[in-house]
Amino acid sequence: MATGLHKSDFANPVIRWVDARLPVFTMMQKEYGTFPTPRNFNYLWNFGALAMVNLLIMIVTGIFLAMNYTAHTSMAFDSVERIMRDVNYGWLLRYAHANGASMFFIVVYIHIFRGLYYGSYKAPRELLWMIGVVIFLLMMATAFMGYVLPWGQMSFWGATVITNLFSAFPLVGESIVTWLWGGFSVDNPTLNRFFSLHYLMPFVIFGVVFLHVAALHITGSNNPLGIDPKGPQDTVPFHPYYTAKDSVGLVVYFIVFAVLVFFFPNMLGHADNYIPANPLVTPPHIVPEWYFLPFYAILRAVPDKLGGVLLMFGSIAILFVLPWLDTSPVRSMRFRPLARPFFAVWCVTFLVLLYCGGKPPEEPFVTIARVCTAYYFLYFLVILPLLGRLERPLPLPESIARPVLRGGGPLPAGAMGKPMEKA
């Protein structure tokens, strides 16, 4: 494109002046105003927007908490309690941040499961999906380091156990762990670097989320039918249709969030984390935060140290290659009668793993966790690749508008957006 001012269509002279020099308004209008979006989203498509809002809440509450937090082993615990007691609304900031992490994972898990069910990872959205997995990994790292900051018993022992995972690697393991700690055990240098990184990571996540959304706006959204929009009759402009629909989901999300923060602020936490860290005494029952439990269960399901670590990392790494493991050309499981029950079992498996991860490593939980771990991998490595060949999908509808407009109603009024260029 030649240099020169952008031709802006805005009526307001100030907006037009800015837009001609920096077309942010045109961009917003294009990406969030008139952006043609499949008209048949259900409420599960709220969760991307909810995750975005949740990220912003975490960043803002986190910045204000950092103003009163002291990253030193001798003061961290007391400084957090000072926030709870003496800082104006400090309890609100902290409980919103702590429960916000749980909300974030609930939202993101639903977002991921939605993608799995409706085949949102399939061509042409493979990269979009992979960027999403990166976000998930970054979130887990951030949440883990954040949980260390209050320097309670669970903070300390969680940090010890998780950093020790790296000692499983032969030869370099010990050096990596020492390097992570900045010493010979989890101590003040560890706390300091975790605080630094915990502050940095959300901004990295924000950047990757930007890429996630940019990729989404190239391919366009998937939808419950999993078929591409054929023309303007299949889409509506993002605003006001999906801004309005997302707002409904957002309020419901806030209600759940508020119930947690104001009435059950410690329900998802662990009582032991209100005991200051003690490097000489491990609590009788150490468990990670609930959102890590499925992966923790996979770790413990393997009797071998290195094997457990590899399998745990593998359980997430496998998501990167999922777009190529699932060989079915049909995206939405609504039209995959065979895949649906297998997926349902996989979801139950995930929840059972979550449950087992919170239980002590004794029978019958160990055996159950092993069976579930086996199915977890079987589903991705064997069932999905085979199903694509064996399954006879149901006939796909001709277009998105067709099943909705049974009886040939009038064309939707909001269908005048630019037709989508599909890959």
Partner: protein
């Protein structure tokens, strides 16, 4: 929409499973559920009970247990007057300084001082208590599974060990303590304190009062939190209704 309920159930399941107590501790004794005034949506602290509880703490617990996150000024919140708080604070000697000669000095406590700890450090506390460390009580109800119910039950859980159970030297049998052998001897006994307000100091009464006090100490923000929460939920419910109405209107001509 055949697959949709699966996912919805999943979403619920995620929340519910996470909520359940995911930590068993061997053979566990069911905690009796005590009704406290601070429970529930509109729960509030019983000021008189919390004040009595403070008296129990001061006269009984404080000889071994610190509450180093609490300041005397905090007592204003459970209804003590400024003068009463100043008088309570003045009964302890606080180390301050150094003064201009470089010496640490002892001065009477002020409202802004933290509760004075019975021992200088953990080692001193262990040395005086047969190597057991009496935990700090500032956030004790948040730091124990079962919270207020557990503390209340523990205080009343002493008794003779069942036949066949051998209690180790220096330990005491308690029904609700993990492992049932606790280093703390039974702290409360009938009529141990003489309440300022004339309430009869039964064992049950003292346990309830001190639990009330400790719960307040652990969560002094609770009343404010719940009150704000109720307003928040009401506001969000109305906003949700409005948002849904707007959504219906906007989508009216598409459906």
């Amino acid at each position: 929409m055949s697959g949709f309920p699966t996912l919805r159930a999943l979403a619920l399941g995620l929340g519910l499973i996470a909520a359940g107590p995911a930590f068993a501790a061997g053979e566990e004794v069911e905690l009796p559920n005590t009704r406290f005034s601070f429970e529930g949506l509109f729960g509030h602290f019983d000021r008189a009970s919390a004040q009595r509880g403070f008296q129990v703490y001061k006269e009984v617990c404080a000889s071994c247990h610190s509450m180093h996150l609490m300041s005397y000024r905090n007592l204003r919140q459970i209804g003590l007057s400024e003068a009463e708080v100043a008088a309570i604070a003045a009964t302890v000697q606080v180390t301050d300084g150094p003064n201009d000669d470089g010496q640490m000095i002892e001065r009477p406590g002020r409202a802004s001082d933290r509760f004075k700890s019975p021992f200088a450090n953990e080692q001193a506390a262990r040395a005086a208590n047969n190597n057991a460390y009496p935990p700090d009580l500032s956030v004790i109800t948040k730091a124990r599974e079962g919270g207020a119910d557990y503390i209340h039950a523990l205080l009343l859980g002493y008794g003779d060990p069942p036949a066949g159970v051998q209690v180790a030297e220096g330990l005491h049998y308690n029904k609700y303590f993990a492992g049932h052998q606790i280093a703390m001897p039974q702290p409360l006994s009938e009529g141990q304190v003489e309440y300022h307000d004339g309430t009869k100091a039964t064992l049950e009464q003292m346990a309830t009062d001190v639990t009330q006090f400790l719960t307040w100490a652990a969560e002094p923000e609770m009343e404010e939190r719940k009150a704000l929460g109720v307003k928040m939920i009401i506001f969000l419910t109305i906003l949700g209704g409005l948002a849904y109405a707007v959504k219906r209107k906007v989508w009216h001509d598409v459906h």
